[in-house]
Protein backbone atom coordinates (compact mmCIF):
# COMPACT_ATOMS: atom_id res chain seq x y z
CA UNK A 1 0.00 0.00 0.00
CA UNK A 2 1.65 3.19 -1.04
CA UNK A 3 0.25 5.92 1.09
CA UNK A 4 1.91 9.06 -0.09
CA UNK A 5 2.04 12.00 2.26
CA UNK A 6 1.06 15.27 0.64
CA UNK A 7 4.61 16.40 0.00
CA UNK A 8 5.93 13.15 -1.45
CA UNK A 9 7.60 14.25 -4.68
CA UNK A 10 6.82 12.49 -7.92
CA UNK A 11 10.19 13.34 -9.38
CA UNK A 12 12.76 13.51 -6.56
CA UNK A 13 14.80 16.20 -8.32
CA UNK A 14 11.91 18.61 -7.93
CA UNK A 15 11.63 18.10 -4.21
CA UNK A 16 12.99 21.53 -3.40
CA UNK A 17 10.49 23.28 -5.64
CA UNK A 18 7.68 24.95 -3.68
CA UNK A 19 4.16 23.76 -4.56
CA UNK A 20 2.34 25.70 -7.25
CA UNK A 21 -1.08 25.26 -5.70
CA UNK A 22 -1.76 25.04 -2.00
CA UNK A 23 -5.19 24.10 -0.72
CA UNK A 24 -5.14 24.67 2.99
CA UNK A 25 -7.73 23.38 5.44
CA UNK A 26 -10.85 24.10 3.39
CA UNK A 27 -14.19 23.83 5.14
CA UNK A 28 -17.43 24.57 3.34
CA UNK A 29 -20.92 24.47 4.80
CA UNK A 30 -24.18 25.05 2.97
CA UNK A 31 -27.19 26.34 4.81
CA UNK A 32 -30.25 24.44 3.63
CA UNK A 33 -33.82 24.42 4.91
CA UNK A 34 -33.05 21.08 6.61
CA UNK A 35 -30.07 22.58 8.39
CA UNK A 36 -26.40 23.02 7.67
CA UNK A 37 -24.67 20.56 5.32
CA UNK A 38 -20.91 20.21 5.51
CA UNK A 39 -19.80 19.53 1.97
CA UNK A 40 -16.03 19.79 2.43
CA UNK A 41 -14.26 19.31 5.75
CA UNK A 42 -10.61 20.17 6.44
CA UNK A 43 -9.25 19.33 3.02
CA UNK A 44 -5.61 20.22 2.49
CA UNK A 45 -3.18 19.31 -0.27
CA UNK A 46 -0.37 20.71 -2.42
CA UNK A 47 0.11 20.36 -6.14
CA UNK A 48 3.49 20.80 -7.77
CA UNK A 49 4.21 22.40 -11.11
CA UNK A 50 3.50 19.88 -13.85
CA UNK A 51 1.80 17.40 -11.54
CA UNK A 52 -1.39 15.60 -12.47
CA UNK A 53 -3.61 15.10 -9.44
CA UNK A 54 -6.86 13.20 -9.65
CA UNK A 55 -9.49 13.78 -6.98
CA UNK A 56 -11.84 10.87 -6.61
CA UNK A 57 -14.78 10.29 -4.32
CA UNK A 58 -18.35 9.01 -4.19
CA UNK A 59 -21.14 11.10 -5.66
CA UNK A 60 -22.11 14.00 -3.42
CA UNK A 61 -18.86 13.98 -1.45
CA UNK A 62 -18.08 17.60 -2.29
CA UNK A 63 -15.82 17.27 -5.34
CA UNK A 64 -17.56 19.97 -7.36
CA UNK A 65 -17.74 22.17 -4.30
CA UNK A 66 -13.98 21.87 -3.89
CA UNK A 67 -13.51 22.57 -7.59
CA UNK A 68 -15.62 25.72 -7.38
CA UNK A 69 -13.76 26.91 -4.31
CA UNK A 70 -10.34 26.49 -5.93
CA UNK A 71 -11.64 28.15 -9.10
CA UNK A 72 -12.92 31.07 -7.04
CA UNK A 73 -16.57 30.67 -8.03
CA UNK A 74 -17.74 29.96 -4.49
CA UNK A 75 -17.06 31.99 -1.40
CA UNK A 76 -18.09 31.73 2.21
CA UNK A 77 -15.62 28.92 2.88
CA UNK A 78 -12.98 28.67 5.58
CA UNK A 79 -9.37 28.01 4.72
CA UNK A 80 -7.05 29.25 2.07
CA UNK A 81 -6.23 28.68 -1.58
CA UNK A 82 -2.83 29.91 -2.75
CA UNK A 83 -1.14 29.91 -6.12
CA UNK A 84 2.64 30.43 -6.25
CA UNK A 85 2.63 31.36 -2.58
CA UNK A 86 -0.03 34.07 -2.88
CA UNK A 87 -3.52 33.70 -1.51
CA UNK A 88 -6.19 34.02 -4.19
CA UNK A 89 -9.77 35.12 -3.73
CA UNK A 90 -12.27 34.92 -6.54
CA UNK A 91 -11.57 33.78 -10.11
CA UNK A 92 -7.90 33.98 -10.97
CA UNK A 93 -6.25 34.02 -14.37
CA UNK A 94 -3.74 31.36 -13.40
CA UNK A 95 -6.56 28.84 -12.95
CA UNK A 96 -8.56 27.49 -15.86
CA UNK A 97 -11.72 25.47 -15.40
CA UNK A 98 -13.41 22.79 -17.48
CA UNK A 99 -16.89 22.09 -16.19
CA UNK A 100 -18.84 18.91 -15.58
CA UNK A 101 -21.77 20.04 -17.74
CA UNK A 102 -21.71 20.87 -21.41
CA UNK A 103 -20.41 24.43 -21.50
CA UNK A 104 -19.64 25.42 -25.08
CA UNK A 105 -21.33 28.59 -26.33
CA UNK A 106 -23.93 27.40 -28.84
CA UNK A 107 -23.95 30.75 -30.67
CA UNK A 108 -20.23 30.59 -31.47
CA UNK A 109 -18.38 28.35 -33.90
CA UNK A 110 -15.68 26.02 -32.62
CA UNK A 111 -12.93 28.49 -33.44
CA UNK A 112 -14.79 31.42 -31.87
CA UNK A 113 -15.49 29.33 -28.78
CA UNK A 114 -11.82 28.55 -28.40
CA UNK A 115 -10.82 32.15 -29.14
CA UNK A 116 -13.23 33.43 -26.47
CA UNK A 117 -10.74 34.01 -23.62
CA UNK A 118 -8.36 35.70 -26.06
CA UNK A 119 -11.12 37.94 -27.38
CA UNK A 120 -12.04 38.95 -23.85
CA UNK A 121 -8.39 39.69 -23.13
CA UNK A 122 -8.43 42.14 -26.04
CA UNK A 123 -6.31 40.27 -28.58
CA UNK A 124 -6.78 41.31 -32.21
CA UNK A 125 -8.93 39.10 -34.39
CA UNK A 126 -6.16 37.78 -36.65
CA UNK A 127 -3.93 37.03 -33.71
CA UNK A 128 -6.55 35.25 -31.62
CA UNK A 129 -7.82 33.13 -34.52
CA UNK A 130 -4.24 32.05 -35.15
CA UNK A 131 -3.75 31.13 -31.47
CA UNK A 132 -7.12 29.43 -31.25
CA UNK A 133 -6.33 27.35 -34.32
CA UNK A 134 -3.33 25.96 -32.48
CA UNK A 135 -5.45 24.75 -29.58
CA UNK A 136 -8.16 23.38 -31.85
CA UNK A 137 -5.44 21.31 -33.51
CA UNK A 138 -4.10 20.26 -30.10
CA UNK A 139 -7.41 18.65 -29.14
CA UNK A 140 -7.69 17.07 -32.57
CA UNK A 141 -10.56 19.08 -33.98
CA UNK A 142 -8.90 20.56 -37.07
CA UNK A 143 -11.38 20.76 -39.90
CA UNK A 144 -14.24 21.55 -37.53
CA UNK A 145 -13.32 25.20 -36.90
CA UNK A 146 -16.40 26.63 -38.64
CA UNK A 147 -18.91 24.19 -37.12
CA UNK A 148 -21.35 25.08 -34.38
CA UNK A 149 -21.45 22.99 -31.17
CA UNK A 150 -24.87 21.62 -32.14
CA UNK A 151 -23.18 19.93 -35.11
CA UNK A 152 -20.66 18.09 -32.91
CA UNK A 153 -20.78 14.99 -30.74
CA UNK A 154 -20.68 15.23 -26.96
CA UNK A 155 -17.03 14.18 -26.81
CA UNK A 156 -16.08 16.77 -29.42
CA UNK A 157 -17.90 19.47 -27.49
CA UNK A 158 -16.00 18.58 -24.32
CA UNK A 159 -12.78 18.87 -26.32
CA UNK A 160 -13.89 22.33 -27.46
CA UNK A 161 -14.39 23.34 -23.82
CA UNK A 162 -10.97 21.95 -23.02
CA UNK A 163 -9.33 23.83 -25.89
CA UNK A 164 -11.09 27.02 -24.82
CA UNK A 165 -9.70 26.74 -21.31
CA UNK A 166 -6.24 25.79 -22.61
CA UNK A 167 -6.28 28.85 -24.88
CA UNK A 168 -6.32 31.12 -21.85
CA UNK A 169 -3.04 29.42 -20.91
CA UNK A 170 -3.73 28.89 -17.23
CA UNK A 171 -0.96 27.69 -14.97
CA UNK A 172 -3.36 25.19 -13.46
CA UNK A 173 -6.13 23.29 -15.24
CA UNK A 174 -9.10 22.27 -13.12
CA UNK A 175 -11.33 19.68 -14.71
CA UNK A 176 -14.57 18.58 -13.08
CA UNK A 177 -15.56 15.21 -14.53
CA UNK A 178 -15.14 16.55 -18.05
CA UNK A 179 -15.95 13.16 -19.56
CA UNK A 180 -18.57 12.16 -17.02
CA UNK A 181 -21.36 12.00 -19.57
CA UNK A 182 -19.42 9.99 -22.15
CA UNK A 183 -19.19 6.27 -22.79
CA UNK A 184 -16.22 4.26 -21.51
CA UNK A 185 -14.37 3.93 -24.84
CA UNK A 186 -14.61 7.63 -25.68
CA UNK A 187 -13.56 8.42 -22.15
CA UNK A 188 -10.41 6.29 -22.47
CA UNK A 189 -9.46 7.81 -25.81
CA UNK A 190 -10.04 11.35 -24.56
CA UNK A 191 -7.96 10.37 -21.55
CA UNK A 192 -5.07 9.70 -23.95
CA UNK A 193 -5.61 13.13 -25.43
CA UNK A 194 -5.54 14.72 -21.99
CA UNK A 195 -2.30 12.95 -21.05
CA UNK A 196 -0.71 13.91 -24.35
CA UNK A 197 -1.61 17.57 -23.94
CA UNK A 198 -0.68 17.61 -20.28
CA UNK A 199 2.76 16.20 -21.09
CA UNK A 200 3.23 18.48 -24.08
CA UNK A 201 2.45 21.66 -22.14
CA UNK A 202 3.76 20.36 -18.81
CA UNK A 203 0.36 21.51 -17.58
CA UNK A 204 -0.42 21.30 -13.88
CA UNK A 205 -3.74 19.51 -13.80
CA UNK A 206 -6.43 18.68 -11.26
CA UNK A 207 -8.95 16.19 -12.51
CA UNK A 208 -12.08 15.57 -10.52
CA UNK A 209 -13.69 12.26 -11.25
CA UNK A 210 -15.63 9.36 -9.81
CA UNK A 211 -14.10 6.97 -12.30
CA UNK A 212 -11.26 4.89 -10.85
CA UNK A 213 -9.86 3.78 -14.23
CA UNK A 214 -9.71 7.36 -15.38
CA UNK A 215 -7.94 8.47 -12.20
CA UNK A 216 -5.28 5.75 -12.38
CA UNK A 217 -4.83 6.09 -16.13
CA UNK A 218 -4.13 9.81 -15.97
CA UNK A 219 -2.78 10.86 -12.61
CA UNK A 220 0.56 11.02 -10.84
CA UNK A 221 -1.31 11.01 -7.57
CA UNK A 222 -4.88 10.24 -6.59
CA UNK A 223 -6.65 11.93 -3.71
CA UNK A 224 -9.43 9.70 -2.40
CA UNK A 225 -12.17 11.60 -0.62
CA UNK A 226 -14.59 10.30 2.00
CA UNK A 227 -18.34 10.41 1.71
CA UNK A 228 -20.04 13.49 3.13
CA UNK A 229 -18.56 15.43 4.76
CA UNK A 230 -15.80 15.26 2.14
CA UNK A 231 -12.46 14.71 3.81
CA UNK A 232 -9.12 13.45 2.54
CA UNK A 233 -9.15 9.69 3.03
CA UNK A 234 -5.89 8.84 1.37
CA UNK A 235 -3.33 9.85 -1.24
CA UNK A 236 -2.23 7.15 -3.64
CA UNK A 237 0.88 7.78 -5.74
CA UNK A 238 0.55 6.13 -9.14
CA UNK A 239 3.95 4.80 -10.11
CA UNK A 240 3.22 3.88 -13.67
CA UNK A 241 5.71 4.76 -16.39
CA UNK A 242 5.07 7.67 -18.73
CA UNK A 243 4.30 8.21 -21.51
CA UNK A 244 1.09 6.33 -20.77
CA UNK A 245 -1.83 5.58 -22.97
CA UNK A 246 -5.08 3.74 -22.55
CA UNK A 247 -3.36 0.38 -23.28
CA UNK A 248 -1.98 0.49 -19.75
CA UNK A 249 -5.49 -0.16 -18.50
CA UNK A 250 -4.98 -3.89 -19.09
CA UNK A 251 -1.74 -4.23 -17.11
CA UNK A 252 -1.31 -5.91 -13.71
CA UNK A 253 0.06 -2.91 -11.85
CA UNK A 254 -2.85 -0.91 -13.15
CA UNK A 255 -5.27 -3.50 -11.81
CA UNK A 256 -3.49 -3.38 -8.48
CA UNK A 257 -3.98 0.39 -8.16
CA UNK A 258 -7.59 0.15 -9.21
CA UNK A 259 -8.27 -2.57 -6.63
CA UNK A 260 -6.58 -0.52 -3.93
CA UNK A 261 -8.60 2.62 -4.65
CA UNK A 262 -11.78 0.64 -5.10
CA UNK A 263 -11.49 -0.90 -1.63
CA UNK A 264 -11.22 2.61 -0.18
CA UNK A 265 -14.05 3.90 -2.27
CA UNK A 266 -16.32 0.96 -1.65
CA UNK A 267 -16.19 1.68 2.03
CA UNK A 268 -17.16 5.29 1.42
CA UNK A 269 -19.76 4.57 -1.21
CA UNK A 270 -21.54 2.04 0.96
CA UNK A 271 -21.39 4.43 3.88
CA UNK A 272 -23.03 6.96 1.59
CA UNK A 273 -25.73 4.57 0.49
CA UNK A 274 -26.57 3.59 4.06
CA UNK A 275 -26.72 7.27 5.03
CA UNK A 276 -28.98 8.08 2.09
CA UNK A 277 -31.25 5.11 2.77
CA UNK A 278 -31.70 5.87 6.44
CA UNK A 279 -32.35 9.49 5.59
CA UNK A 280 -35.05 8.63 3.07
CA UNK A 281 -36.57 6.15 5.54
CA UNK A 282 -36.60 8.85 8.17
CA UNK A 283 -38.28 11.19 5.73
CA UNK A 284 -40.81 8.51 4.79
CA UNK A 285 -41.77 8.11 8.44
CA UNK A 286 -42.08 11.83 8.95
CA UNK A 287 -44.50 12.21 6.06
Amino acid sequence: MSIAPARDPVVPAEAAQPPLLVVDDIVMRFETPEGSVTAVEHVSFDVKQGEFLAVIGPSGCGKSTLFNIIGGLLDGYQGRVAVGGKRIIGPHRSIGMVFQEESTFPWRTVIDNVAFPLEVAGMTKAERIERARHFVRLVGLDGFERRYPAELSGGMRQRVSMARTLASEPKIMLMDEPFGALDEQTRLLLGDKVIQIQQELNQTTLLITHNITEAVQLADRVLVMTYRPGRVKRFVAIDLPRPRNSEIVGSDTFGHYVAQIWSDLREEASRGMIADESRSRGRGRAE
Binding site: G71, G72, L73, P91, H92, R93, I95, G96, M97, F99, Q100, E101, E102, S103, F105, P106, W107, R108, T109, D112, F116, P117, E119, V120, Y148, S161, R164, S168
Partner: protein
Amino acid sequence: MSGLSKSLTRSALRPVLIGVGSLILFFIFLEFAVRFGLINQFAVAPPSDIVKAFPRLFAEEHVGDRFLDTAFEAVIASVFVALFGISAGVLLYKVRILRLATETWVAAFAAAPTVLLYPLFLVIFGRNATTIIMMGFVAGLAPVTLKTLEGLSTTRRVLVNVGRSFNLTEWQLFWKILFPSALPTIFVGVRLGLVFALINIVGVEFLINFGGLGALINELSERFDLAGTYAAICFVILVSVMVFMTTERAERWLTSAG
Protein backbone atom coordinates in the same frame (compact mmCIF):
# COMPACT_ATOMS: atom_id res chain seq x y z
CA MET B 1 -49.99 6.25 -59.33
CA SER B 2 -48.09 4.91 -56.34
CA GLY B 3 -44.92 6.48 -57.74
CA LEU B 4 -46.64 9.84 -57.88
CA SER B 5 -47.98 9.63 -54.33
CA LYS B 6 -44.56 8.56 -53.09
CA SER B 7 -42.86 11.54 -54.68
CA LEU B 8 -45.55 13.77 -53.19
CA THR B 9 -44.93 12.35 -49.73
CA ARG B 10 -41.28 13.17 -50.08
CA SER B 11 -41.76 16.66 -51.41
CA ALA B 12 -42.00 19.55 -48.99
CA LEU B 13 -44.80 20.89 -51.17
CA ARG B 14 -47.39 18.49 -49.86
CA PRO B 15 -48.39 20.33 -46.67
CA VAL B 16 -48.52 23.59 -48.63
CA LEU B 17 -50.76 22.00 -51.25
CA ILE B 18 -53.07 20.61 -48.60
CA GLY B 19 -53.25 24.01 -46.89
CA VAL B 20 -53.99 25.95 -50.07
CA GLY B 21 -56.36 23.23 -51.28
CA SER B 22 -58.52 23.36 -48.17
CA LEU B 23 -58.59 27.15 -48.38
CA ILE B 24 -59.84 26.96 -51.97
CA LEU B 25 -62.42 24.35 -50.99
CA PHE B 26 -63.61 26.65 -48.22
CA PHE B 27 -63.99 29.55 -50.66
CA ILE B 28 -65.90 27.38 -53.12
CA PHE B 29 -68.21 26.31 -50.32
CA LEU B 30 -68.63 29.96 -49.26
CA GLU B 31 -69.37 30.99 -52.85
CA PHE B 32 -72.22 28.47 -53.10
CA ALA B 33 -73.47 29.15 -49.58
CA VAL B 34 -73.85 32.86 -50.37
CA ARG B 35 -75.22 32.36 -53.89
CA PHE B 36 -77.89 29.93 -52.68
CA GLY B 37 -78.84 32.09 -49.71
CA LEU B 38 -77.47 29.82 -46.95
CA ILE B 39 -75.52 32.85 -45.77
CA ASN B 40 -76.98 36.35 -45.97
CA GLN B 41 -75.37 38.10 -48.93
CA PHE B 42 -75.57 41.44 -47.11
CA ALA B 43 -73.30 40.01 -44.40
CA VAL B 44 -70.74 38.17 -46.52
CA ALA B 45 -69.70 38.95 -50.06
CA PRO B 46 -69.25 35.96 -52.37
CA PRO B 47 -65.54 35.20 -52.83
CA SER B 48 -65.70 35.81 -56.56
CA ASP B 49 -66.86 39.41 -55.92
CA ILE B 50 -64.08 39.85 -53.37
CA VAL B 51 -61.53 38.76 -55.95
CA LYS B 52 -63.08 41.14 -58.49
CA ALA B 53 -62.85 43.97 -55.95
CA PHE B 54 -59.08 43.66 -55.60
CA PRO B 55 -58.11 45.69 -58.72
CA ARG B 56 -60.50 48.39 -57.52
CA LEU B 57 -58.62 48.55 -54.21
CA PHE B 58 -55.45 49.42 -56.07
CA ALA B 59 -56.90 51.70 -58.75
CA GLU B 60 -59.45 53.69 -56.76
CA GLU B 61 -58.63 53.24 -53.09
CA HIS B 62 -54.85 53.55 -53.35
CA VAL B 63 -54.34 50.54 -51.12
CA GLY B 64 -50.61 50.80 -51.81
CA ASP B 65 -50.40 54.22 -50.14
CA ARG B 66 -52.59 53.00 -47.30
CA PHE B 67 -50.25 50.07 -46.85
CA LEU B 68 -47.26 52.41 -46.69
CA ASP B 69 -49.02 54.50 -44.02
CA THR B 70 -49.62 51.42 -41.89
CA ALA B 71 -46.14 50.06 -42.59
CA PHE B 72 -44.58 53.35 -41.54
CA GLU B 73 -46.50 53.34 -38.26
CA ALA B 74 -45.69 49.68 -37.70
CA VAL B 75 -41.97 50.14 -38.32
CA ILE B 76 -41.73 53.10 -35.93
CA ALA B 77 -43.77 51.26 -33.30
CA SER B 78 -41.65 48.10 -33.70
CA VAL B 79 -38.39 49.97 -33.30
CA PHE B 80 -39.73 51.50 -30.09
CA VAL B 81 -41.12 48.16 -28.95
CA ALA B 82 -37.78 46.43 -29.47
CA LEU B 83 -35.75 49.25 -27.93
CA PHE B 84 -37.87 49.84 -24.85
CA GLY B 85 -39.07 46.26 -24.44
CA ILE B 86 -35.57 44.79 -24.41
CA SER B 87 -34.27 47.58 -22.16
CA ALA B 88 -37.13 47.06 -19.73
CA GLY B 89 -36.46 43.32 -19.72
CA VAL B 90 -32.77 43.91 -18.97
CA LEU B 91 -33.69 46.37 -16.22
CA LEU B 92 -36.08 43.89 -14.61
CA TYR B 93 -33.39 41.22 -14.81
CA LYS B 94 -30.74 43.41 -13.23
CA VAL B 95 -32.85 44.96 -10.49
CA ARG B 96 -34.25 42.08 -8.50
CA ILE B 97 -36.60 44.13 -6.35
CA LEU B 98 -38.12 45.74 -9.43
CA ARG B 99 -38.65 42.32 -10.98
CA LEU B 100 -40.35 40.90 -7.91
CA ALA B 101 -42.50 44.01 -7.66
CA THR B 102 -43.65 44.21 -11.27
CA GLU B 103 -43.32 40.86 -13.07
CA THR B 104 -46.94 39.82 -12.42
CA TRP B 105 -48.20 43.18 -13.58
CA VAL B 106 -46.23 43.03 -16.78
CA ALA B 107 -47.61 39.54 -17.44
CA ALA B 108 -51.14 40.78 -16.79
CA PHE B 109 -50.48 43.74 -19.05
CA ALA B 110 -49.39 41.40 -21.84
CA ALA B 111 -52.77 39.69 -21.68
CA ALA B 112 -54.84 42.89 -21.38
CA PRO B 113 -56.84 44.20 -24.37
CA THR B 114 -54.87 47.43 -24.55
CA VAL B 115 -56.78 48.50 -27.64
CA LEU B 116 -59.52 49.68 -25.26
CA LEU B 117 -57.21 52.44 -24.11
CA TYR B 118 -57.59 54.27 -27.41
CA PRO B 119 -59.90 57.05 -26.14
CA LEU B 120 -57.27 57.98 -23.57
CA PHE B 121 -54.54 58.13 -26.21
CA LEU B 122 -56.86 60.12 -28.45
CA VAL B 123 -57.18 62.71 -25.72
CA ILE B 124 -53.44 62.80 -25.04
CA PHE B 125 -52.05 62.76 -28.61
CA GLY B 126 -54.99 63.76 -30.79
CA ARG B 127 -56.43 62.02 -33.85
CA ASN B 128 -53.15 61.44 -35.67
CA ALA B 129 -50.40 58.94 -36.42
CA THR B 130 -48.80 59.46 -33.00
CA THR B 131 -51.82 57.95 -31.27
CA ILE B 132 -51.72 54.95 -33.60
CA ILE B 133 -47.98 54.42 -33.13
CA MET B 134 -48.28 54.74 -29.37
CA MET B 135 -51.12 52.22 -29.28
CA GLY B 136 -49.03 49.77 -31.27
CA PHE B 137 -46.09 50.41 -28.99
CA VAL B 138 -48.11 49.79 -25.83
CA ALA B 139 -49.49 46.52 -27.21
CA GLY B 140 -46.10 45.14 -28.20
CA LEU B 141 -44.10 46.18 -25.16
CA ALA B 142 -45.05 43.55 -22.58
CA PRO B 143 -44.27 40.38 -24.56
CA VAL B 144 -40.85 41.71 -25.51
CA THR B 145 -40.07 42.65 -21.90
CA LEU B 146 -41.24 39.28 -20.58
CA LYS B 147 -39.37 37.25 -23.18
CA THR B 148 -36.19 39.26 -22.65
CA LEU B 149 -36.43 38.66 -18.92
CA GLU B 150 -37.10 34.97 -19.51
CA GLY B 151 -34.19 34.60 -21.92
CA LEU B 152 -31.75 36.29 -19.56
CA SER B 153 -32.82 34.42 -16.46
CA THR B 154 -32.83 31.01 -18.13
CA THR B 155 -29.24 31.38 -19.32
CA ARG B 156 -27.53 28.18 -18.21
CA ARG B 157 -25.61 28.70 -15.00
CA VAL B 158 -22.56 26.90 -16.27
CA LEU B 159 -22.18 29.37 -19.15
CA VAL B 160 -22.13 32.24 -16.68
CA ASN B 161 -19.59 30.30 -14.62
CA VAL B 162 -17.39 29.89 -17.68
CA GLY B 163 -17.43 33.65 -18.05
CA ARG B 164 -16.68 34.18 -14.39
CA SER B 165 -13.80 31.70 -14.52
CA PHE B 166 -12.32 33.77 -17.36
CA ASN B 167 -12.55 36.84 -15.15
CA LEU B 168 -15.08 38.71 -17.27
CA THR B 169 -16.31 42.10 -16.12
CA GLU B 170 -20.04 42.50 -15.47
CA TRP B 171 -20.32 44.33 -18.77
CA GLN B 172 -18.56 41.57 -20.70
CA LEU B 173 -20.57 38.92 -18.87
CA PHE B 174 -23.72 40.59 -20.11
CA TRP B 175 -22.74 41.29 -23.69
CA LYS B 176 -20.66 38.18 -24.34
CA ILE B 177 -22.72 35.57 -22.52
CA LEU B 178 -26.12 36.57 -21.13
CA PHE B 179 -27.35 38.55 -24.11
CA PRO B 180 -26.29 36.15 -26.89
CA SER B 181 -27.65 33.24 -24.89
CA ALA B 182 -30.98 35.05 -24.47
CA LEU B 183 -31.16 36.28 -28.06
CA PRO B 184 -33.29 33.47 -29.54
CA THR B 185 -35.87 33.93 -26.76
CA ILE B 186 -35.72 37.71 -27.12
CA PHE B 187 -36.40 37.30 -30.80
CA VAL B 188 -39.50 35.24 -30.10
CA GLY B 189 -40.66 38.15 -27.92
CA VAL B 190 -39.91 40.71 -30.62
CA ARG B 191 -41.91 38.69 -33.13
CA LEU B 192 -44.85 38.47 -30.76
CA GLY B 193 -44.54 42.18 -30.00
CA LEU B 194 -44.48 43.01 -33.68
CA VAL B 195 -47.63 41.02 -34.35
CA PHE B 196 -49.40 42.55 -31.32
CA ALA B 197 -48.37 46.03 -32.45
CA LEU B 198 -49.59 45.41 -35.99
CA ILE B 199 -52.96 44.14 -34.80
CA ASN B 200 -53.42 47.17 -32.59
CA ILE B 201 -52.28 49.60 -35.25
CA VAL B 202 -54.80 48.35 -37.80
CA GLY B 203 -57.44 48.15 -35.09
CA VAL B 204 -56.92 51.72 -33.93
CA GLU B 205 -56.79 52.99 -37.51
CA PHE B 206 -60.18 51.40 -37.92
CA LEU B 207 -61.55 52.79 -34.67
CA ILE B 208 -60.43 56.38 -35.14
CA ASN B 209 -60.78 56.19 -38.93
CA PHE B 210 -57.38 57.65 -39.55
CA GLY B 211 -54.34 56.58 -41.57
CA GLY B 212 -53.73 53.31 -43.35
CA LEU B 213 -55.40 49.96 -43.93
CA GLY B 214 -57.63 49.98 -40.86
CA ALA B 215 -59.15 53.31 -41.87
CA LEU B 216 -59.66 52.01 -45.41
CA ILE B 217 -61.67 49.07 -44.10
CA ASN B 218 -63.71 51.49 -42.02
CA GLU B 219 -64.42 53.76 -45.02
CA LEU B 220 -65.35 50.89 -47.31
CA SER B 221 -67.71 49.39 -44.78
CA GLU B 222 -69.38 52.74 -44.18
CA ARG B 223 -69.95 52.98 -47.92
CA PHE B 224 -71.58 49.51 -47.70
CA ASP B 225 -68.99 48.31 -50.22
CA LEU B 226 -69.15 44.76 -48.93
CA ALA B 227 -66.85 43.15 -51.49
CA GLY B 228 -64.33 45.99 -51.13
CA THR B 229 -64.37 45.68 -47.33
CA TYR B 230 -63.68 41.97 -47.47
CA ALA B 231 -61.01 42.48 -50.11
CA ALA B 232 -59.30 44.99 -47.83
CA ILE B 233 -59.55 42.59 -44.90
CA CYS B 234 -58.01 39.87 -47.05
CA PHE B 235 -55.24 42.28 -47.96
CA VAL B 236 -54.52 42.94 -44.27
CA ILE B 237 -54.45 39.20 -43.59
CA LEU B 238 -52.05 38.70 -46.48
CA VAL B 239 -49.79 41.43 -45.13
CA SER B 240 -49.83 39.85 -41.65
CA VAL B 241 -48.97 36.45 -43.08
CA MET B 242 -46.09 37.99 -45.01
CA VAL B 243 -44.80 39.79 -41.91
CA PHE B 244 -45.08 36.61 -39.88
CA MET B 245 -43.22 34.56 -42.47
CA THR B 246 -40.50 37.15 -42.90
CA THR B 247 -39.82 37.36 -39.18
CA GLU B 248 -39.80 33.59 -38.98
CA ARG B 249 -37.18 33.49 -41.71
CA ALA B 250 -35.18 36.23 -40.04
CA GLU B 251 -35.31 34.36 -36.75
CA ARG B 252 -34.10 31.14 -38.28
CA TRP B 253 -31.32 32.99 -40.05
CA LEU B 254 -30.31 34.82 -36.89
CA THR B 255 -30.24 31.74 -34.68
CA SER B 256 -28.35 29.62 -37.19
CA ALA B 257 -25.80 32.33 -37.90
CA GLY B 258 -25.30 32.72 -34.14
